[in-house]
Amino acid sequence: MKYGWLGIVMTSVFLGSLAPANAQATLKAVQERGVLSCGVSQGLPGFSAPDDTGKWSGLDVDFCRALAAVTLNDPLKVKFVPLSAKDRFTALQSGEIDVLSRNTTWSLSRDTSLGLNFTAVMYYDGQGFMVRKSLKVNSALELNGASVCVQTGTTNEQNLADYFRSNNMKYEVVAFATADETIKAYESGRCDVFTSDVSQLYAERLKLTVPDDHAVLPEIISKEPLGPVVRHGDDQWFDIVKWTLFAMVNAEELNVTQKNVGEMLKSNKPEIARLLGTDGNLGQQLGLTNDWVVRIVKAVGNYGESFDRNVGAGSKLRISRGLNKLWNQGGIQYAPPIR
């Protein structure tokens, strides 16, 4: 009993060491804190996955590093917060993370009813199907009566239902809470088909024992534009995140790479000068330094380099650029001009 009331005195130690988070003025909070808190997935190869030592890599991870480079001048000052599909939005709403870079689909209901803002599109994706090659299926329309594994809490479940209903096909849905469980169930044969965003299909295929035994069907049944998300109410931070992505795309358009950014600084071309900050004060207008794009490119390269390294030809996934090519090369990645 004598020790009991001391417990009362000391109980508020917990409360005392929990830091309150600010919803406004995220840039100032990040710079004061000295580290960027970035919400990522729990392990999706190519987008955000830790290796055995806990080091993160991926397309979404590169974006976070670019953001850290512009705000803190150090791409390594990022705290990655792995989030499930269920608590990714609540983490952003509550202020636990500053930006959600977790291959999240931009949809109207998410943009309006959750108090969040989608900034730009990092990756134009769509939902597709993966089947075993041994089933000799060439099109999604041959999947009548199949068992389909899908992850709950994603738009994939509803798109799946809509697709099969509108094509008058029957199916059995087998839904799991995490992507890992879903892919394991697919591999064990519990279901014939695995459905998810096509980029995820390629990524999860790597986790299978014999990846080449499985094929991705050609049908894309939905639009899934993936991009970073921030909270409502902080326009400056919204602009910074958005323009960081646009800067990466513009850098690729103007052929500024990680290797040649030093020489490009000496270039006389007006667009490159504006981009790299040698002309004008566009960086300061955002609230950053004028060499903000230089920082980005030095840290992670331009959009094409990051894509190649993480999900494209230079990675294990080998996804073709497809829709994600630049607008002047047949794709739809189009960033507004930096001027």
Binding site: L143, A146, S147, G153, D162, V173
Partner: protein
């Protein structure tokens, strides 16, 4: 000549004061008021914060979401369900799935638990040790662990549909489930059911009559040939007069899966096995404790009457042990029902998985959904406790008489 003692004066206010203060006087009343005040402040603080936070996050309030379209399908529904149905329908489907797995689990757990308890008390040394080993191993492993093990073991062992194990060519076992022929009721179905019920009722009447004759006059009547004849003959008569009551819809492999027939999903099988074996281990210990609590003299008295060991157990020991076993047994039934919510880990669409899982992530209305789910589980707990208490009261009455 002492007069009878007079009744104490009524004094309602004093009694009210005593009750309200718990005999601690004004300090108790003041303390309770302070406590009530703190509680009210805490609750109002929570409600205000919740309302502010929900508004800031643009999350809707109220139960209107129940009328929204679900948009996703569920792989086991005991009532008709399609993606165009409302969230309320999803709630009903989930609730029925939970009740299904709970009831099946309770039945199997009781059977296995009693069997293991009797095995543990058996004079056969090997059987006793084996049952003891079962209880020790199962009780000391987490339920989620066992559930995942059964699910992955069950799935790994079964073949895919194109190589199903066939049972007499009409039922098939594969890793999508166990497909059995579906019974479609035909014209003669109603009569068939009525015939069976009538036969059962008649048999019960005959058994009651035979017992009365035995107790009153000492005559032993052989009732079982007549009961058997009725149970077989009446329905047969119904079939002959009105036609076969059911037609069978045999499952056929078409494309990826079997069409036709009813399918028991491997999720249901794994969940039932895991829940039953786990709870059976605890029930075995409870039953064993109850059986050991019955005085040893009862066993010896039964033996001296010439009864065999099974007969003694059935007629003497178990009825006496039941009263002791009932409260902890109720507890285990409640635990089983609550543990069925682990279905979310293997994708079985019970109430928690479809409602507090998928619906919650689609609508975002955490407060209403979790409140509804908790209320349902509380209600199930209360109903089960009430039923078991009623049974216990009935036992008390019959034992006292």
């Amino acid at each position: 000549m002492a007069t009878a003692p007079r009744r104490p004066p009524f004094r309602p206010l004093t009694r009210l004061w005593r009750v309200l203060s718990g005999d601690t006087g004004w300090k108790g009343i003041a303390g309770q008021l302070v406590f009530a005040g703190l509680l009210a402040w805490l609750v109002s603080d929570i409600v205000i914060n919740a309302r502010a936070n929900l508004q800031a996050q643009h999350i809707a309030s109220g139960f209107g979401f129940l009328a929204g379209t679900a948009g996703f399908s569920v792989n086991q529904a005991l009532i008709r369900y399609s993606e165009a149905d409302t969230y309320l329908r999803v709630f009903e489907v989930g609730l029925l799935n939970t009740l299904l797995v709970s009831i099946i689990g309770i039945v199997f757990a009781t059977l296995i638990g009693f069997a293991v308890a009797l095995g543990r008390l058996s004079p056969n040394w090997l059987l006793a040790r084996l049952s003891g080993g079962y209880v020790e191993i199962i009780r000391n492993l987490p339920l989620l662990f066992q559930l995942l093990f059964w699910y992955l073991a069950v799935l790994a062992a079964l073949p895919n549909p194109r190589q199903s194990l066939s049972v007499f060519g009409v039922a098939f076992l594969n890793n999508r489930g166990f497909v059995v022929p579906h019974m479609e009721p035909q014209q003669g179905a109603g009569v068939f059911v009525v015939a069976i019920l009538a036969a059962i009722a008649a048999s019960l009447v005959m058994m009651a009559y035979a017992r009365r004759r035995l107790y009153r006059h000492g005559e032993r009547l052989r009732v079982w040939p007549f009961a058997l004849a009725l149970l077989i003959g009446l329905p047969l008569l119904g079939i002959v007069l009105f036609g076969v009551p059911v037609s069978f819809d045999v499952p056929v492999l078409r494309g990826f899966n079997f069409t036709g027939g009813t399918r028991v999903t491997p999720e249901l099988v794994a969940l039932t096995i895991a829940l039953s074996t786990y709870t059976a281990a605890f029930i075995a210990e409870i039953v064993r404790g109850g059986l050991l609590a019955v005085p040893k003299g009862q066993m010896e008295a039964g033996a001296s009457l010439g009864l065999s060991r099974p007969a003694i157990l059935r007629l003497v020991i178990i009825p006496q042990a039941m009263r002791l076993i009932l409260p902890p047994l109720t507890n285990q039934y409640l635990n089983l029902t609550k543990n069925s919510s682990l279905a979310v880990a293997i994708g079985y669409p019970d109430l928690f998985s479809v409602f507090a899982g998928t619906t919650l992530s689609q609508t975002g209305q955490a407060v209403e959904i979790i409140a509804m789910t908790m209320a349902v589980y509380l209600a199930i707990s209360l109903v089960t406790s009430a039923l078991m208490n009623a049974y216990g009261w009935h036992l008390d009455r019959s034992q006292r008489a």
